[in-house]
Symmetry: C2
Subunit: 252 residues, 2 copies
Amino acid sequence: MEPITSRANARLKAARRLQAKRHRTAAGLFLAEGEDIVEEALAAGVLPAETFVAADRPPAEELVARLARGGPVHVVADPLLAELGSLGHPARVICVFRRGDLPQRDPGATLGVYLHRVIDPGNVGTLVRAAGALGPAFVALSAGCSDPLSGKGVRASMGAVFRVPIEQVDEPPAAGRHIALDPGGGRDLWQVDLTGPVLLLVGAERLGLPEALVSGADEVARIPQVADAESLNAAAAATVALYEAVRQRAAA
Amino acid sequence: MEPITSRANARLKAARRLQAKRHRTAAGLFLAEGEDIVEEALAAGVLPAETFVAADRPPAEELVARLARGGPVHVVADPLLAELGSLGHPARVICVFRRGDLPQRDPGATLGVYLHRVIDPGNVGTLVRAAGALGPAFVALSAGCSDPLSGKGVRASMGAVFRVPIEQVDEPPAAGRHIALDPGGGRDLWQVDLTGPVLLLVGAERLGLPEALVSGADEVARIPQVADAESLNAAAAATVALYEAVRQRAAA
């Protein structure tokens, strides 16, 4: 197959637009780059709509064959593929996935994390990864959170976006008792019962949760931290709370 | 004071060299940028050896006065200050600090984390931050770990490098029982007694800890995780283990 060597190629151009959040939203598509990440998609049973592979540094043929089950495979001149990606070290493969193919929250899910206006893509992605490893939990994101399907978000999640149900919400969903994490108040986290259905509410660092969400929660929990220290970031605090839920449930 | 407008200025040049690890090591100095980070240094009682401030966008005079107690303050043309820094959004202030002014491990410390060949600077910095917030704990870094005093490391620690004792080691120090974190084996973390002096051994993601460190540890602990999921990264796993130690000690 002749590789695509023109930046103006229509397929490449359409894919490149997905680097911008508004185009991802409008098209219902997003990019995932790197062999390890697209392997995670396949392992989760999610096939790409379209695949771009580097002409000079292609990924393993066997991987390309599996990706081809989802849709067309385009061979692209390496510098053009690097432009489509967001990594310092260019990927050998970049796929377009459909947002609609991602998992939805099970109505019976008993563990979730609501993130309030967490703007750092690394933080959001890291939390999605932790939600996949501990629980598993679903993730609900407020308006103003970084898009988990951005290049950095998908990368930081290490592909967990393909397994972890993620929803965009206007307010914390009614999915169990609402436990607000707040370093300044409430009971120590380990004293709060997390064995039943719970949604953990976590705010961005520095700003924290808005007062209305804290006072409206069923319970407020704090992770005891050293005075004067910068508190844990949102992903770290949520990860600790997920662990605590796993611990309590194993003991219950 | 006339601002420095030449890239060849000797002070600026010497400071710029500190962007490279070998120069940081040789000089025993490192850079910290941004008002929030240098405030953390002052709050920890650590004064800079030298301070560079932006000519057009200087930080608050009151902050500069406090930094000036440590050593000379240089006013620098904004583009030259941006070159000295590593942030996308240039800092108003960048200080040179002495490695020798950083805290040393208390001989009586009962909680520490040993990181084995964790190469990601964000991961190392995030763990240092967590060690300052939970415990507090000290941090021991093997050869091959990312330098916690790199620009990214200091930034990811949010200035916790000024409070948390960090040491470079050839092997895990004799500081309590060695607990190896290994997703594949041992007892569930919450079943392992962490109330006495302990050193948590944590490996890099994917590679994990070398077999010799796992088999040589006093105990092996695992954080139960969902099968097939990418496991927690090194910083997240260590943060969870620090939390578990804090929890057990509060209950003991």
